[in-house]
């Protein structure tokens, strides 16, 4: 597995588990997770600073970790661009996760605005990572608009329901020639493994790690599940059958011997 690096918009990651930093009880958990689960990329949001005394999140992020700023809070493409510009000043990076969410109950992304945002931001030199409702037609538009990957939701943010949208994500995996990152809804390590076994390129997990009883330990479990799923996919999963097939076919000798 030495050479299984994933490159997205020029950024290289070896660990295909991307970790979101929201909802943690303490930022102290973040460096521990990055170190122990060997995380290469994390996501962050931006907000107004409360004061200059409290240690900012950036001080908790180990050097060398790739930081993907999201545009959470944006309700349209223009707002996403404003946030992206601030994010770039903070991180020095062109990578931006486009999150445009007008719906507050299910936190559904607005695919139409996300397509617009991909174009607007790509034209400004950003590398858009669009968080989207898995829809093949919309994903193709995002590719045309300059996305560097596609981030379909597995299930709504924070629900831990797993791959509710599996079939629709499979369509993206089959038809889109960019990395597919399943983002949102992954609730347990087996969901992450299932996603990777499907052949998606990476998964993003936040709530399931941040709200577990032991976030560091579960991050390690997620990391291993992602790796296991990836290796399984690369190994080539055997096909499912309707009827049983014995693992050790009987031979003439044994049948004869048993009949005696």
């Amino acid at each position: 597995m030495e050479n299984d690096t994933l490159v997205i918009g020029g950024a290289e990651i070896r660990n295909r588990l991307i970790v979101g930093t929201g909802k943690f009880s303490s930022y102290d958990l973040i460096p521990e997770i990055v170190e122990k689960a060997k995380i290469d990329m994390i996501t962050v949001a931006i907000r107004r600073a409360r004061d200059g005394i409290q240690k900012p999140l950036i001080d908790y992020i180990p050097k060398g970790t790739k930081i993907l700023v999201n545009t959470s809070g944006a309700r349209n493409a223009e707002e996403a661009l404003k946030i992206a510009k601030i994010g770039k000043e903070l991180t020095g990076s062109d990578l931006i996760k486009i999150e445009i969410i007008p719906d507050t109950k299910y936190l559904m992304p607005d695919n139409r605005e996300v397509i617009k945002a991909c174009e607007l931001l790509a034209n400004e030199g950003f590398k858009p990572f669009p968080y989207m409702m898995p829809d093949l037609v919309a994903a193709k538009e995002m590719v045309k608009a300059g996305a560097v990957c596609i981030m379909p939701l597995g299930a709504p943010i924070g629900t831990n329901k797993g791959l509710v949208a599996k079939y629709f994500i499979e369509m993206l995996r089959n038809e889109i020639d960019l990395p597919i990152i399943v983002d949102a809804g992954i609730g347990k390590p087996s969901h992450a493994a299932e996603a990777m076994e499907m052949g998606v390129d990476a998964v993003l997990v936040n709530t399931a790690i941040a709200t577990a009883k032991d976030p560091v330990r579960i991050a390690i479990a997620f990391s291993k599940a992602v790796e296991a799923g990836r290796i399984g996919y690369l190994a080539g999963l055997p096909s499912e059958k309707i009827f049983a097939e014995a693992s050790s076919p009987l031979d003439e000798y044994l049948l004869g011997f048993l009949k005696k």
Partner: protein, 66 residues
């Protein structure tokens, strides 16, 4: 003079620079981004910006997010 910092009125010296305001309020300019009247200020320009009466300054930072 009075400026609006993160939504609250603040009294500052006339012609204070953005850099001095950030230092006064303990915002390390390498870790925060300033927006003055809707303009995102590049880090390299912080020291060149002089604030005027009623300027609206927002100080933005990273926070946890997915």
């Amino acid at each position: 003079m009075k400026i609006i910092l993160n939504g609250s009125e603040v009294e500052v010296n006339e012609k204070i620079s953005l850099l001095d305001l950030m230092r006064m309020k303990n915002f390390d300019p390498s870790k925060y981004v300033a927006i003055v009247n809707e303009d995102v200020i590049p880090k390299s320009k912080i020291q060149d910006i002089t604030l005027n009466e009623n300027d609206r300054v927002e100080i933005i930072t990273m926070m946890g997010g997915g």
